[in-house]
Amino acid sequence: MNILELHNLKKYFATQKAVDDISFEIKQGSIFGLLGPNGAGKTTLLRMITGIFYPDQGHIIFNGQKYDPINDVAYIGYMPEERGLYKKMKIGEQAVYLARLKGLSKADAMHKIKEWFVKFEMQSWWNKKVEDLSKGMSQKLQFVTTVLHEPKLIILDEPFSGLDPVNANLIKDEIFNLAKKGSTIIFSTHRMEQVEEICDHIVLVNKGHKILDGTVGEIKNRFKENIYRVGVNTNAENLMTYIFEVIKHKPDQLLLKLQHDSTTNDVLKHFINQNIPVHSFNEVLPSLNEIFIKLVEGTPEARQFQQVNN
């Protein structure tokens, strides 16, 4: 079942087509990655999903029904890229306040905050002010306030920026936990290694358009270039063949690309025939980072201002 469906969303600003006809679906309980270079339209897209902006065109289906921002925001948790908390407010009170704005009762909010604070070892923070916290600490607090009301849809914009590896892992584990419990997570970032590790499904947007949509494995397969890493001890005359092209040659390792419809077995046969032992044989899939750069490269780095005729 899809928790969220976007149908032909458009949002034009005075000088930008920020989001120009984007559609995709997100399955319940999945971890979804929304990727794109700076200024691709990710934040605008997220703001439409959180009900801050209304789309100019297109519609959103949330949980099987037409999205009604006023009531549905209670089921959404949003952690924006620019973190924000009331600096002068005590941490405990702040968490209670934000939870109550999401519709929790005071007692409920207190109970849940205490649970989370224990989990994140934040109990002693209750009466501290936000301005006393370090960046990483306030990040943890922000995460807690985002997921506190057990939203069906959690939107995290760059959740790991500013966190040390220990705390990043803590948050990562919680993200997996929440997904296991049935929450859906939209994860917006341009840190590709995290996406590969965490996300089930990704969408890549650039210049207001969707340019890629699929699961991580599927996309990697789609962009594979038949490159293999082979552990063999070879010298130059062993490699005179039309089956593959050598990309990198080390005394005990080869990086090669298949050519002319040859298969992996053709490569193995080639070495077997020459009686060269093969220690290892792996396919090298492109990293999302490479795919990302390949797709985005060539487009001007920053978006140009354009005339929009509404």
Binding site: R47, T50, G51, I52, Y54, I70, V73, A74, I76, Y78, M79, P80, E82, R83, G84, L85, Y86, K87, K88, M89, Y97, L98, R100, L101, K102, Q142, T145
Partner: protein, 438 residues
């Protein structure tokens, strides 16, 4: 609605718990009362230093007429004292009445400066002595003249009674009306600035802290703005209530400790003195005196109008201040130029009030008390001296319509501005935000 009340509570509680609020609420009336009564008290006790003055070379007109007493200034007519030895003989100063010419100018020698008060005291007493001598020459006793002028001073009193349509006459006191009108007008003027700026700073804080984006993913921007505006209004009303209570209590305490006669004496003693001290003690005296005149004022109407116009004027401007706060980025300097179009009408209203208060029914006052931009300030100047109900109702409805309009307008600017970072919005852009469709 529930969300507005949550935001309202937060805004109210965090502000009321704030140290600045507590300080300004409790300290201001105390400082005010202490200043007024304290300066009166010090004026009384500090100034009256007894001085012994030796008088030499008296040509004869002063000896019997110069008023001398043992509390303030004692004149001793001797001959063997001069400017070199007066301190040894126990005098504070020597008054040399030898005149070189016909000019009425004499010399006082003293170790320490006599100061304005001392100098003036001697001059006044010499004038009186000369006057007494002249009266005597004309055959008039000084005491007779004094008793006549004492009798006549303030013998007649005029009471202004207004005849209303029903033919009922009521007593009015123009001075009290003036005071109450000006006081409440100035109070609304100041508070509109203070609380308007508070709203603006609050909005700026939310924007620069980037909490705004978190907030508007849970509540509508309009709810956020209204919650804040109403919360701060409640803070203002709380502060007023505390001020009024404190001032009444402190006045009672001050009166109990400082007897009215003392304050009156101080006022009397200072009457002839130049400078600000006399003003303060007279004010203290008046404050005690005025109480009986205050009973002629229609308090329920004034307090009702004050609360209405405070809230109305505040709501009218607060949303505009919120809109300004929402378009400003980190740089508070930007606020100055954007605030100008909002602060101008407020200042303008105050100028109209202060320059036309003595003629509360003049055309400009009537107009200014109708237009919502100035009505909260100007109408408060008119209310104490009586305003036709039709004027009051029209002014109030215009103000309500006005703040509904500004709130609607500001809400639209706020909604866009609060999430805009980067460059400052221009007036043209804000206009666009305000009037485009959702």
């Amino acid at each position: 609605m529930n969300k507005i009340s949550l935001i309202f509570q937060r805004e109210y509680i965090t502000r009321v718990r704030n140290k600045t609020f507590l300080l300004s609420t409790f300290l201001l009336p105390i400082v005010m009362i202490l200043f007024i009564f304290g300066s009166a008290f010090f004026a009384m006790s500090g100034k009256q230093k007894f001085k012994r003055v030796a008088v030499v070379n008296d040509p004869g007109i002063f000896k019997s007429n110069l008023k001398s007493d043992s509390t303030q200034m004692f004149f001793d007519f001797t001959s063997n004292v001069d400017s070199t030895n007066f301190t040894q003989k126990g005098y504070d100063a020597v008054l040399d009445l030898r005149s070189d010419s016909s000019a009425k100018k004499f010399v006082v020698h003293s170790k320490k400066q006599l100061g304005m008060d001392g100098k003036q005291m001697i001059e006044t007493r010499m004038d009186r002595a000369f006057e007494k001598k002249q009266l005597m020459l004309k055959g008039i006793e000084k005491e007779t003249l004094d008793s006549i002028s004492k009798q006549t001073a303030g013998m007649y009193k005029i009471e202004n009674r207004l005849t209303s349509e029903q033919g009922k006459s009521e007593q009015v006191n123009a001075a009290v009306n003036y005071g109450v009108g000006f006081g409440s007008g100035i109070l609304i003027y100041i508070t509109m600035f203070i609380f308007g700026a508070m709203v603006m700073r609050g909005v700026m804080e939310e924007k620069t802290n980037r909490i705004a984006e978190v907030m508007v993913s849970s509540v509508k921007p309009f709810q956020l703005m209204m919650g804040k505006i109403l919360g701060i209004a409640a803070v203002g009303l709380t502060q007023f209530a505390l001020w009024v209570t404190l001032i009444i209590v402190l006045m009672g305490v001050a009166k109990a400790f400082i007897p009215a006669e003392l304050v009156q004496q101080a006022g009397e003693a200072n009457k002839n003195m130049p400078g600000g001290m006399s003003g303060n003690s007279q004010m203290a005296m008046k404050m005690l005196e005025l109480e009986k005149d205050f009973s002629t004022v229609n308090w329920p109407l004034i307090i009702g109008c004050f609360i209405f116009y405070f809230l109305g004027g505040y709501l009218f401007y607060a949303s505009l201040f919120a809109a300004i706060g929402s378009v400003i980025n980190e740089d508070p300097q930007e606020a100055q130029s954007l605030m100008l179009p909002i602060t101008m009408p407020i200042i303008f209203g105050f100028i109209i009030l202060s320059s036309n208060l003595s003629t509360p029914d003049s055309t400009i006052m009537v107009w200014a008390s109708m237009i919502p931009f100035t009505s909260p300030i100007v109408m408060m100047g008119r209310v104490p001296s009586g305003v036709p109900w039709s004027h009051l109702i029209l002014s109030m409805s215009l103000l309500i319509a006005g703040f509904l309009f500004t709130t609607w307008l500001a809400g639209k600017i706020y909604r866009t501005g609060i999430l805009m970072y980067g460059k400052k919005a221009s007036w043209k852009e804000m206009f666009k935000w305000a009037f485009r469709k959702a």
